[in-house]
C-alpha cells in the first residue's frame, strides 16, 4: 500500500469516527427532544381533563364547544400515543418518568394505548353528538385508560 493510500484510508477512518460521534450526539438530542415533546403533549392532556372535570362534576354548566375541543385534544394524542414512545426514549436518554418496562412489554403497552384510543374516540363522538349524559358516563372510562398505563409504566421520580 502506498503512503498516499494509507493516508487516504486513515482520513476515511477519521471521518467515519467523527461521523458516528456526531450522529449519536444528534440522536441523543433527538431523543431528548422526543421526551420533551411527549411531556408537552401529556401536559396538554392534563389541561383537557382539567377543563372537563368541573363540567362532568356538575360544577360548571354543560358546554358542548369546550367538551368537543378538550375531547379532540385527548383523541388526537391517543392516535399517536405509541409514536410518542420511540425506542430509546426511556430513562437512558434523559430525565423521564417513563419506565423501561414500556419497551420490555411493548405489545401490552400498545394494547393499553388502543384502549385509550377507543375511550377517547368515543368521548369525542359523544361530545360531537351533544350527548351530555353519555359524555359524563364515558369520562371515567377515559380516566381509567390513562391510569392503565401510568400504573405499570410510569414512576414519578422528578
Amino acid at each position: 500500500m502506498t503512503t498516499v493510500s494509507r493516508l487516504a484510508l486513515a482520513m476515511i477512518g477519521l471521518v467515519g469516527v467523527l461521523g458516528v460521534a456526531t450522529y449519536s450526539a444528534e440522536a441523543q438530542m433527538n431523543m431528548m427532544k422526543q421526551i420533551e415533546h411527549r411531556q408537552e403533549v401529556m401536559k396538554g392532556n392534563g389541561g383537557a381533563m382539567k377543563v372537563l372535570t368541573p363540567i362532568v362534576r356538575g360544577e360548571a354548566p354543560w358546554n358542548q364547544a369546550a367538551a368537543v375541543q378538550a375531547a379532540t385534544t385527548l383523541a388526537n394524542t391517543a392516535k399517536e400515543i405509541n409514536a410518542l414512545f420511540p425506542q430509546g426514549t426511556g430513562p437512558e436518554a434523559g430525565k423521564t418518568d417513563a419506565l423501561p418496562a414500556i419497551w420490555q412489554n411493548w405489545a401490552d403497552f400498545q394494547a393499553k394505548g388502543q384502549v385509550f384510543n377507543e375511550a377517547t374516540t368515543k368521548l369525542l363522538q359523544l361530545a360531537q353528538a351533544n350527548d351530555e349524559a353519555g359524555f359524563k358516563a364515558q369520562f371515567p372510562n377515559v380516566g381509567k385508560s390513562c391510569g392503565g398505563c401510568h400504573e405499570g409504566y410510569r414512576v414519578k421520580k422528578q
Binding site: M42, N45, G46, G47, A48, M49, K50, T53, R57, E59, D97, P140, G143, K144, C146, G147, C149, H150, E151, G152, Y153, R154, V155, K156, K157, Q158
Partner: protein, 331 residues
C-alpha cells in the same frame, strides 16, 4: 423546604442499623431464654383467646362480605397478589422494592401447605396485632402490622373469615431478597422493641364520629402513613412528620406530602378534588396517578362506600399541615 426531612445517605443508614441491631440483639437474645414463666403465660393467654374465639368462628355470609370490604380497604391484594403476572388473588408473589431489599408478598390463601390453611384465628390476630409469626419469629415491618395493629377486633375477625373463604392456591411463597444484615429475622425483635407498640385504635371523644372513622380508615386499614410518612434511619415512620411525604418511597418513587399544607401538600385541594382522586386516580391538574397509588385506587379507595370516602377526606383535611416540598431537592 424543610431541612428536617433530609434523609441520611444509605451507607450511613446501614451502619446505624447494624450498630443498633448489634446493640440490642445480644441482651434480647438472653432475655428470650430466661423469662420462661412470662412466655408460657403468654402462650396460655393465646390459648385462652383461641378457645374463646374458636367456637364463634363460624362465619355468616354477612361477616364474610364485611371481611371482603376490610380486605379491599386494607389493600391486602396489593402486596399479596401478583397482578403483573396475572397471579391468582392473595396467592402472593408481588415484588416490592425497598431501600432494604426486595420483598415478595406471601401466599395468604387457605392452602394448608403454602398458605394460611393451618393457621388458627389467634395466629392471624397475633400476626396483625403484634407482628409475630406463628413460629414466634417477627415480621419485617414491610408487612404493615404497625398499622394493622390498630384494627378493631371485629374487623380482624371478619377479615379472617373472608380469607378463609378464598379458594386455596397451592403456590409456594417466594423468599425475600434482602441484603445482610437486614435479612436476619431475630434483629426484628430489637426493631419492634424500639419502634412498635401495639394497641387498637382509640376513639377521640372530642372529635366527630366522622373524623374518627376517617382516622381509623387512614391509620388502621388504609395504612397511608406506611408510604406517605418519612422513615427514620431504622426504617420506622416518624410521627412528627405524619403524612408529610418522602423522596424515598417504594419502587424508588417520590411520595407526595398529603398534609393540608397549601404550598407543598393538599391544602388547595377541594373535597371534590380528593373524591376524584380516590374514585378515579385523577389529580386537580388533570393527571392520573401512577405506580403504587394507582394500585391503591384500583384495589382500595375506588371501592370505598361514600360515607367512608367522606370520612377519610374530612380527616385528611384536618391533619396538622406540614411544610415539606418533596420536589424541592433533586435526589
Amino acid at each position: 423546604m424543610a431541612g428536617a426531612v433530609d434523609s441520611p445517605r444509605p451507607l450511613f443508614r446501614r451502619f446505624v442499623v447494624v450498630a443498633q441491631a448489634l446493640a440490642f440483639s445480644a441482651p434480647l437474645a438472653l432475655l428470650r431464654k430466661t423469662p420462661r414463666l412470662q412466655l408460657s403465660g403468654f402462650a396460655l393467654a393465646l390459648l385462652g383467646v383461641g378457645l374463646l374465639v374458636g367456637p364463634a368462628a363460624a362465619q355468616t355470609p354477612d361477616a364474610t362480605r364485611r371481611g371482603g370490604y376490610i380486605f379491599d380497604l386494607a389493600g391486602c391484594a396489593g402486596c399479596h397478589t401478583d397482578v403483573k403476572n396475572k397471579g391468582p388473588l392473595a396467592a402472593g408473589g408481588r415484588e416490592l422494592k425497598t431501600p432494604f431489599g426486595a420483598f415478595y408478598g406471601p401466599n395468604i390463601t387457605p392452602d394448608p401447605q403454602y398458605g394460611l390453611g393451618r393457621w388458627k384465628e389467634a395466629d392471624f390476630v397475633r400476626a396483625m396485632r403484634h407482628g409475630i409469626r406463628p413460629d414466634g419469629n417477627r415480621y419485617f415491618p414491610v408487612f404493615p402490622y404497625t398499622s394493622f395493629a390498630k384494627m378493631s377486633d371485629e374487623d380482624l375477625h371478619d377479615l379472617w373469615g373472608y380469607l378463609r373463604s378464598l379458594p386455596p392456591v397451592a403456590k409456594p411463597s417466594r423468599r425475600h431478597d434482602i441484603g445482610f444484615p437486614f435479612r436476619l429475622r431475630f434483629l426484628q425483635i430489637g426493631w419492634q422493641w424500639l419502634n412498635f407498640s401495639t394497641g387498637a385504635f382509640k376513639v377521640d371523644p372530642a372529635k366527630s364520629p366522622e373524623w374518627n372513622r376517617g382516622a381509623y380508615v387512614v391509620q388502621a386499614l388504609g395504612h397511608c402513613g406506611e408510604c406517605h410518612t418519612p422513615r427514620n434511619i431504622a426504617g420506622a415512620t416518624r410521627p412528627s412528620l405524619y403524612l408529610a411525604g418522602t423522596r424515598d418511597g417504594p419502587e424508588g418513587s417520590k411520595v407526595p406530602n398529603i398534609t393540608p399544607d397549601p404550598e407543598t401538600g393538599i391544602g388547595k385541594w377541594s373535597p371534590g378534588d380528593l373524591a376524584d382522586l380516590f374514585k378515579s386516580g385523577m389529580t386537580p391538574d388533570g393527571d392520573f396517578v401512577g405506580a403504587t397509588m394507582a394500585e391503591v385506587v384500583r384495589n382500595s379507595t375506588s371501592k370505598m362506600t361514600d360515607a367512608d370516602l367522606k370520612a377519610m377526606i374530612a380527616y385528611l383535611r384536618a391533619v396538622p399541615p406540614f411544610r415539606n416540598d418533596i420536589r424541592a431537592v433533586a435526589k
